[in-house]
């Protein structure tokens, strides 16, 4: 029933609900500010993110007026690196989630429309994917590769995250594919592709939107974790994760190197998940499962 209320015309209602939800507004504002900051990063950042300013005197300088977030073990300005790394982190996360959604939606639609045998097989694969801890899967994949350029990281992140979306879409398709209007469309000779995109997909869009908003937060954290382990974004290119990783070795003597990017990470992830929650409430108050 949840999805029925979400027929395309209701987007204005949803936007209205979001606008009146204080938490979503705040989250949206924080997110917009962070995105603006990292996009304008090159203009705002006081130093170049790769520049080793003074390797003899400026190593691990604590936060000060010249270096708001201090400097790291190579005397680089942490704030400049955080601004530049934020671009990488956010870009990687959003692109990976786009891949997730694309693959998940297609898989879910195909599985939902397929006959029983193929549907079962496709869903068993999804079950397998969901039951392997994603971090472990990523470790196995990334460890197998000699080097990981950023585009490959995005691809790997995207291809390990679509299982939930697929199951979601498949569930929606299964519940409405017997509906009268779908039968009518089929009787009128609609092709399976048209049926899927025009009549079934719009109903699954709401839940998919919520899931993918929350997924952006998860992927930002995942990328940060992988980069922290040294198998994500490769230095010297900064990302929030590998800046935190750089600082981790010196956490006792120079905690600011990790704390600065970590704070940005937490802020963005909190904002994204609050926005996802708000979106869920706006789409179908109290009806979608809270996990």
């Amino acid at each position: 029933m949840t999805s029925i209320a979400l027929a395309s015309g209701d987007w204005r209602v949803i936007a209205q609900r979001l606008r009146t939800d204080r938490r979503s507004l705040l989250a949206g504002a924080v997110l917009a500010a962070m995105i603006a900051l990292v996009l304008l990063g090159p203009l705002l950042s006081p130093y170049r993110p790769y520049e080793q300013l003074d390797i003899t005197h400026l190593v691990h300088a604590p936060p000060s007026a010249e270096h708001l977030l201090g400097t790291d073990s190579y005397s680089r300005d942490v704030l400049s690196r955080v601004l530049s790394g934020g671009r990488v982190s956010l870009a990687v996360a959003t692109s990976a989630v786009l891949i997730e959604v694309l693959v998940g939606v297609l898989w879910g639609l195909a599985s939902g429309l397929a006959g029983r045998g193929i549907d079962t097989l496709m869903m068993r694969i999804v079950d397998a994917g969901l039951s392997v801890p994603r971090v472990l899967l990523l470790l196995a994949l990334l460890a197998a590769m000699p080097s990981v350029p950023v585009w490959l990281l995005v691809l790997v992140l995207g291809l390990t995250g679509w299982f939930g979306t697929a199951r979601l879409v498949r569930g929606e398709v299964r519940t409405i594919r017997g509906a009268d209007y779908v039968l009518a469309a089929r009787a009128l000779g609609a092709t399976p592709a048209r049926l899927a995109l025009r009549h079934l997909l719009p109903h699954a869009l709401g839940p998919v939107l919520v899931a993918s908003t929350l997924a952006v937060g998860q992927v930002i954290v995942l990328e940060a974790g992988l980069s922290w382990l040294g198998i994500g974004v490769q230095p010297p290119q900064p990302s929030w994760g590998n800046i935190i990783g750089d600082g981790y070795e010196f956490i006792a003597s120079a905690p600011w190197v990790s704390l600065g990017p970590g704070f940005c990470l937490v802020l963005v992830v909190l904002a994204v998940s609050a926005l996802g929650d708000g979106l869920r409430d706006a789409l179908a108050p109290r009806q979608l499962p809270r996990t």
Binding site: R124, D127, V135, L141, L142, G225, L229, I251
Partner: protein
């Protein structure tokens, strides 16, 4: 009972898919596990062939697959280059540490999380509810390794209350009394458990609150109240009891994230478990060990989710019934 057997069968299918996928991954890896060593021009072709045979890399891919699965079934996960031991033995040494940590953290988290959620539901829309709600929303969204870093920094560096890492003090005398050993263990457990506690209790509390509120609005609660059952008894016997199912289900669903998160958390606290092992395996490019960790981690998750399913069915026999009804209608 038949449902249980069916569910375990499903679990085996999933494990088989994971095993096959990891095999394909090994094969996809460019070159082979000791490509670097094989580039040595001094090696004779005969020696290379001997190496390949020793590591099971000769023959066509079908033979290799069968051989690999056969070895797996016998508990042979290959050879760990970094530990210079069989992978199975390395994992067997690390697994108990992880199970300890997870077990204690899960018990505490569910206890505390469910109490918080129940408190929220009982004090719905009042200050208590709002405060706990804000805290749990925050806790549920915190990145795991970040939280671990902050906990470590606070508990072991800024306030030097707890040890920095490891599961026990390596300098502890062998003849230390039981009390000393116990205190040492607990001190080492404190920070990682606290980290996991924040991460797990938060979503548990949220789920418990939602499930309780859902139950409190239902007809049988109104009936019980109308019959004159006191509010406390209604809450405990009619709402709490039926809200257990969804919370346990959440526990099953949260397992993959938990096992995955342990990679980061154990590494931060140098906790000698599966997660830290996987992280080390990555940094030393010990590929068989990585695969072994992935497989064992998946088995843990599959087994855990079966337990969660069985538990939630015992708690609410309708769950399985409804599920089978739904699948009958939809298929």
């Amino acid at each position: 009972m038949r449902a249980l057997i069916h569910r375990i069968g499903q679990g085996f299918v999933v494990i088989a898919i994971v095993a096959t996928a990891t095999f394909v991954l090994i094969r996809l890896a460019p070159g082979d596990p000791f490509a670097g060593a094989l580039e040595n021009a001094h090696l004779t072709p005969a020696l290379r062939a001997q190496w390949r045979a020793a590591y099971g890399l000769d023959g066509n891919i079908g033979t290799q697959y069968v051989r690999w699965i056969w070895a797996l079934l016998h508990g042979d996960l290959g050879w760990s280059v970094s530990a210079n031991q069989p992978v199975a033995r390395v994992i067997a040494a690390a697994l108990p540490n992880t199970l300890w940590l997870m077990g204690i953290a899960l018990l505490l988290s569910f206890g505390i999380g469910m109490s918080l959620g129940a408190l929220q539901a009982a004090r719905r829309n009042r200050a208590t509810d709002h405060v706990i709600g804000a805290v749990t929303l925050f806790g549920a969204a915190l990145p795991d390794f970040w939280l671990a870093l902050v906990v470590l920094l606070t508990g072991a560096y800024w306030f030097r209350v707890f040890p920095v890492g490891l599961a026990s003090d390596p300098l502890l005398p062998v003849a230390a009394s039981l009390g000393t050993v116990l205190r040492d263990r607990l001190a080492h457990l404190a920070l990682p458990v606290l980290t996991l506690l924040i991460l797990i209790a938060a979503p548990v509390a949220r789920q418990q609150r939602a499930a309780l509120l859902d139950r409190l609005g239902s007809d049988w609660i109104r009936t019980a109240t109308a019959k004159g059952v006191g509010p406390w008894t209604v809450f405990r016997r009619h709402a709490w009891r039926t809200a257990l199912g969804p919370v346990v289900t959440l526990g099953g669903l949260a397992l993959p994230a938990l096992v995955g998160g342990s990679v980061f958390i154990e590494r931060v606290f140098a906790w000698p478990g599966m997660g830290a092992l996987a992280a080390t395996a990555i940094s030393t490019r010990d590929y068989h060990l990585v695969v072994g960790c992935v497989l064992v981690g998946s088995v843990m998750v599959v087994a855990g989710s079966i337990v969660a399913d069985v538990l939630s069915q015992l708690l609410d026999p309708r769950a399985m019934q409804i599920e089978s009804d739904v699948s009958r209608i939809t298929s």
